[in-house]
């Protein structure tokens, strides 16, 4: 298990835990990031936000936010 912010591009990942509170956790799940969902990093240049693939759509995700999303390879 590791944080999404440390994941390398093009690896198939699964969300294990989302350490975000109420409103933002909801927003993420509405956009397709929730426990057990699949996710893939498209771009992860430090510093700066990430681009991730969620169910075929591309999302920009702030680095700080990505740090609180735990993923594992599957």
């Amino acid at each position: 298990m590791m944080s999404l912010a440390l994941a390398s591009p093009n690896e198939n990942l699964k969300v294990v835990q989302v350490w975000h509170g109420g409103k933002f956790k909801n927003k993420l799940s509405d956009m397709g990031i929730y426990k057990d969902s699949q996710i893939k990093v498209i771009k992860n240049d430090i510093p700066g936000p990430l681009i991730v693939d969620v169910k075929g759509s591309r999302l920009i995700l702030g680095r700080g936010q990505a740090q609180k999303i735990m993923v594992e390879a599957y």
Partner: protein, 692 residues
């Protein structure tokens, strides 16, 4: 003739607005949802003896109570009960898009799915079996292309059919045993205890389990909800114990699970994700090192195109106004009424109308950048800097870019920022983005003093504005807006070729705000300036003895340390508060530049004399006056002051409207004045020390 009320719903960036524009063209009305700062677009059109009234609902990912847009959308569906809802879906993103669809099905809406952007889906290797999907969901699924006419006829026919015989979809949803069972339990209690609810009771049951504050309130208000709410609490606890997660998450899971089932039965996905053209472009455009230079290049090109096209067009407007002024002056003869019309109205408002072509072209280019998907990339590229320097995330950058055109649409665009603190901070720094209204001031002074390197001087002012914005934001972030910056997540839409119609409508919506300002505030103000410059009766128009002159004389010592202590410069600053472009026309009025008799007929810019047919910056009379009034150094300090000081009245008004209080516009006015004074002082006094 049947009247049909339909609503367009869907995620952001799915082509909803394109479809709306295609149907309604210019016959649309843009306003606000009652009591909300959310835009409401309505329009009507005819189809086969049917009058169709269409509402474009805000682009949403979900229908929770967490954002105003979502509340507006679901309230509309529940309360207004549109006859048909056309759910526009980005076929390339079908799985995520269906999440909203499912929630509208929970609401019992009479749905049609319009699959848009099938080409992208194709490019990605997705094969959607429409028939299968339609059977599983129990709603018609139509393939369309919002940018052209593909599927348009079929969609309209389907709307009529579904209007005549509505679909019943609520029973189609199957959310795993546990969730369905509990929803059913709550639903039964609601059905027996409470009657007369607007929304389906199963939906209310789901929302109660999700802890939706608005729905809980509505149930409490019925006065008969005690038993239901008690049961809900019990079940929520049960969810926690059994799944180790809240009911909310379990329901989300159930929805996505249902969708995954649909997808596996009706969509064929390629084994390996195909690299799309959009991805290839993004490898360059969002590149770690190339991203920023590309962004700067695009911005530079934007301004280059704007000015090379806009300037000559502005010249035509000016000629037309000059002709109008002259014609009126000739036909009406001398007199107070003539002076009122020519100096007051044409001089004041006309001075602003000259910039309309410039502003519209800038907005057209920005709309094209937005519609093509580039602005989202700009937000990505700039996030790094925004984060580090300003403590705002990249999304705030889009309203700031719009601020280069006019602060009013820029401030309205801050509505896309979810976090109230970030939104306020962005609003407060947008006025530092050098809007197109400041340009005439620069153009005039640069022509008088810096003609050899005019481009660089103007560029330096844009840059200074951005730098001040960054510094101010950094200070605010550590003081009044202390705290975590808002979490950042936004969709990166694929690149698209913008449609001409879409870009033009977009441009018009924003440009119209500026025209409205010219028609109201600036008109009113021009008349005030005219009156104050003509009174007391008998003084020479705009002389030091007029009220205007007296005010300027009293206040001018304040500005002496900045290098522009003359009363005319002060008067121009006072009036410029109403609208920055007025600074130029004030000089025109005060000096009677181009006036043939120097008497009360002294016209403002763009009025009666032949000389006025050229732009002020090309007018030798204007330039001479400027050279008497300023030195190169004080001219620069003056431009800096005009750039930074109190946002124009229209900007303050829109800040008031967006924040619903006078506190923030008041604050903005005071702090920008202080900042402007400080920076100009440093530049002027520093420049003197350095021997400029």
């Amino acid at each position: 003739m049947d009247k049909i009320r339909i609503a367009l719903a869907g995620n952001p960036n799915v082509g909803k607005s394109t479809l709306f524009n295609r149907w309604t063209g210019m016959r649309q009305h843009v306003g606000n949802w009652p009591g909300k700062t959310v835009e409401k677009k309505e329009g009507t059109f005819q189809y086969n003896q049917h009058e169709i009234k269409v509402v474009d609902l805000p682009g949403n990912y979900s229908l929770t109570a967490y954002s105003v847009e979502e509340v507006v959308s679901r309230d509309y569906i529940v309360q207004e009960k549109p006859d048909v809802i056309v759910n526009v879906i980005d076929a390339a993103n079908i799985e995520r898009n269906l999440y909203l669809t499912v929630q509208m099905m929970e609401l019992g809406a009479n749905l049609i799915l319009a699959l848009n952007m099938n080409k992208f889906a194709h490019e990605k290797g997705l094969k959607i079996n429409k028939k299968q999907l339609s059977q599983l969901l129990g709603v018609p699924v139509i393939e369309i292309e919002a940018v052209d006419d593909t599927g348009s006829e079929k969609l309209l026919e389907t709307i009529i059919n579904v209007f005549k015989s509505p679909n019943i979809v609520i029973d189609r949803l199957k959310y795993g045993n546990e969730v369905s069972e509990h929803v059913e339990q709550i639903k039964d209690i609601i059905d027996s205890d409470i009657s007369g609810l607007e929304a389906p009771s199963s939906w209310i049951a789901i929302k109660l389990l999700e802890d939706d504050p608005e729905i809980i309130k509505k149930i409490e208000e019925t006065g008969k909800g005690q038993r239901v709410l008690r049961e809900v609490k019990k079940l929520q606890k049960h969810f926690n114990d059994v799944f180790g997660d809240d009911a909310d998450a379990a329901i989300t899971d159930a929805r996505y699970g249902f969708i995954a089932g649909l997808i596996s039965e009706s969509v064929k996905k390629p084994k390996i994700d195909k690299v799309t053209r959009s991805d290839l472009i993004d490898r360059i455009v969002t590149h770690k090192y190339l991203g920023i230079p590309i962004f700067l290049l695009i911005m530079w090109l934007t301004f280059q195109i704007t000015f090379s096209l806009g300037d000559p067009l502005g010249g035509y407007v000016e000629e037309a106004l000059a002709w109008l002024g002259k014609t009126i002056a000739v036909s009406m003869g001398d007199g107070i009424l003539t002076s009122f019309i020519v100096d007051g109205i044409i001089g004041g408002v006309g001075g602003v109308l000259v910039f309309v072509p410039l502003i519209f072209i800038l907005f057209l280019i920005l709309s094209i950048l937005e519609d093509s998907g580039y602005l989202a990339r700009a937000a990505f590229v700039m996030d790094r800097f925004m984060h580090k320097l300003v403590g705002l995330h990249g999304k705030s950058f889009i309203p700031m870019i719009l601020g280069f055109g006019c602060a009013v649409p820029g401030i309205m665009a801050t509505r896309t920022l979810e976090n109230e603190r970030d939104r306020l901070l962005t609003m407060l720094i947008i006025p530092f983005m050098s809007c197109s209204a400041r340009l005439p001031v620069y153009a005039l002074l640069v022509a008088a003093f810096f003609s050899a390197y005019s481009g660089w001087i103007i560029f330096s002012l844009y840059l200074l504005g951005i730098m001040v914005a960054i510094m101010v934001a950094a200070v605010f972030k550590k003081t009044i807006f202390k705290g975590m910056s808002a979490p950042f997540v936004m969709e990166l839409p694929p690149y698209r070729i913008p449609t001409a119609k879409g870009a033009i409508i977009h441009m018009w919506e924003r440009g119209a705000l500026f025209l409205k300002k010219a028609g109201t505030i600036i008109l009113a103000l021009s008349l005030v300036i005219w009156a104050l410059s003509s009174l007391p009766v008998g003084v020479e128009y705009g002389s030091q003895e007029s009220i205007t002159g007296q005010i300027g004389t009293v206040l001018s010592p304040i500005f002496a340390p900045l290098g522009f202590g003359e009363w005319q410069a002060t008067v121009a600053i006072i009036y410029g508060f109403m609208a920055k472009e007025v600074v130029v026309s004030t000089f025109g009025t005060l000096y009677g530049i181009g006036g043939d008799d120097g008497g009360e007929e002294a016209p403002a810019e763009g009025s009666s004399s032949a000389e006025e047919e050229i732009a002020p910056e090309e007018n030798p009379g204007f330039i001479t006056v400027m050279r008497e009034l300023f030195t190169p150094l004080s001219a620069y300090a003056y431009m800096v002051f005009v750039l930074l000081y109190i946002p124009c009245l229209a900007t303050l008004t829109v800040i008031k409207r967006e924040t619903n209080s006078w506190k923030w516009p008041g604050f903005a006015a005071v702090y920008t004045f202080v900042v402007a004074y400080g920076v100009s002082l440093v530049i002027y006094q520093g420049g003197l020390l350095l021997g400029f």
